[in-house]
Amino acid sequence: MVFLRSEDHLARWLDENGWEPGASMTATTLSELARRWWWTRLEPDWQPRPPAESQAILDELGLTGPFWQLG
């Protein structure tokens, strides 16, 4: 996924590539998602995160519905 300047830039980018719209969020929301998602990645006792915990992170940020279902 990429950063875009505005809705107009997003619409042109999707149109030029022939892609159907997926899901958008502000960089502010993505920053909070990234903070929670990657926080433990370099910890020495890291273990794979159970899918339910990953889904919970999405849910907590209001990223719900079919598009955000991991499995």
Binding site: M1, V2, F3, L4, R5, S6, E7, H9, L10, R12, W13, L14, E16, W19, E20, P21, G22, A23, S24, M25, T26, A27, T28, T29, L30, S31, L33, A34, R35, R36, W37, W38, W39, R41, L42, P44, W46, Q47, P48, L58, P66, F67, W68, Q69, L70, G71
Partner: protein, 148 residues
């Protein structure tokens, strides 16, 4: 994921953060004093477990998410060092993983204009108005993680 695979993964991440480049199986085998074939097999298992991403058909590391082992449009500076990230999400993930502030240099794929973001104290202070778009739904992220 067994202890061997976890220890190799831990080494790969630590080495990448330190050097900015990914360790090859012969290099990792030398450092960890393991047979190269054992290390190569571990790389493949870690790839299959989505703990890292290899270039197709090789043991060459492409991604140690959120870090990218290849040049991308997303450059992240943190703690006096810099790395490439795989995508917008990963770019914001590098300061998180490092538990530090960070600056991101990226560009809008529509107009090509440079974009700058800055994370301070865990909060996005610059670039808050930018948009992010997910083309691929979550259940399909790993079908083609490079595209995702």
């Amino acid at each position: 994921m067994d202890e061997l695979d976890l220890s190799i993964r831990t080494y790969l991440y630590a080495s990448f953060v330190e050097t900015g480049r990914s360790s090859t199986p012969p290099e990792t085998a030398g450092v960890l004093e393991l047979p190269e074939s054992t290390v190569s097999s571990a790389y493949r298992r870690l790839h299959d477990a989505h703990a890292l991403v290899l270039q197709p058909g090789t043991t060459e590391i492409r991604m140690l998410n959120p870090f990218s082992a290849v040049e991308t449009a997303h450059r992240v500076e943190a703690g006096g060092r810099s790395w490439y990230a795989n995508c917008a999400w990963d770019a914001l993930g590098i300061p998180s993983a490092l538990h530090t502030d960070g600056r991101i240099a990226s560009s809008c794929p529509d107009c090509g204009e440079s974009l700058e973001l800055e994370v301070v104290g865990g909060e996005l202070l610059r670039g808050r108005e930018l948009l992010v778009h997910f083309v691929v739904p979550a259940r399909r992220w790993w079908e083609d993680i490079g595209f995702t």
